[in-house]
Amino acid sequence: MPVRAPEPSSGDIHDLEPQQFLEEVHSFEFWFQAVEGYLSGLTWGHRPDTPDEPLVPADRERLISVLCNYCVGETAALEGSSGLIAIAPNRLSKIFLSTQVADEGRHLEVFVRRLRDLGVADPEAEIERRASRSLLLFKRRLLELVASKDWEAAIFAQNVILESLEFVVFTSHAEDADPVTAEVLKAVIKDERRHIGFGENELGRRLADSPHSRARIAQIRKELDHLVLDTLEETSGNIGLDRSEHDRLGRVYLESVERLGLLR
């Protein structure tokens, strides 16, 4: 029987025992009630009555390129997280990843829909045409790690590196996007919190138990870092970030890597 999270006698959630907390937050029930809170009433990721302001042609072009690459990232995460379920080491991770698969599928769907709203007749072809080479290489490497059943490396690549990149980029982009895109991004960001947290905590626990793995994961970070930073550079340019904001995003991206002791 799963351990359900009881109300602590103090009434404070922080008094839960660690295992009770983990059972609660990795459950499908928790996920369902969480997403219901912010997706209810949305259509294709935004409120139906949000005005879709026309963009000037250059801005529209840049937004299409950005969304195409968001679709590449989300496809990588969708394929990666679904593949990871089979090699997840325990029930809680398998159930959590099943919720992540649903999240990633929704993200891909709303970004493709946004492309159609912007007048892209064949989103699949446009995604292929505009995909960043660095991001495609990253996706290929991620799926190789999943296929090789390397749980730690694949979780690191997907839920630490890729999700952290998406979290910082989406957060920054949402601040300055048109109203519809901003709403779509803000709902996606709420899902990304769970994904980055799962990755960092799962990997953190495993590195604490087997510190010898740290050098191996650090090597994978070195291999993937330039692909991520190249992608960040390209996306930053397309969403119009200045150099200081781009540098700030780079630092934020590295925070989780640093907390895990993988910067060296």
């Binding site: 922080h14 809170g37 604490a208």
Partner: protein, 100 residues
């Protein structure tokens, strides 16, 4: 809003009594309803942390407790599923560190 209500006099003798807080829903919608009052968004400019609050270093959400927080306390960030320990920084402020 966070409202201080009373002091907890069950603390150990060498501890100043902790303030207690009644937590209200701040509109944070990323966790199930029953947990929402324990979290809020950081508003950046002009925002400040109350004695019962810390920022999650992983996802940047403000975590709230019904008690004044002290170094060594455990708090949970449900939005990103992190377990955290409260520490005091050199600057004297409280900060949460991830406990894997």
């Amino acid at each position: 809003m966070t409202k201080p209500v009373q002091s907890d006099t069950t603390s150990t003798e060498d501890e100043r009594a902790r303030q207690r807080f009644i937590l209200e829903d701040t509109g944070f919608d990323e966790v199930p309803k029953k947990y929402r009052k324990f979290y809020r968004k950081w508003k950046a400019t002009g925002d400040a942390l109350a004695p019962n609050e810390v920022i999650c270093p992983v996802c940047k959400v403000v975590i709230r407790s019904s008690r004044e927080l002290r170094p060594g306390d455990r708090v949970y960030c449900m939005p990103c599923m992190s377990r955290l320990i409260v520490v005091r920084t050199d600057a004297g402020t409280l900060e949460a560190h991830v406990a894997y």
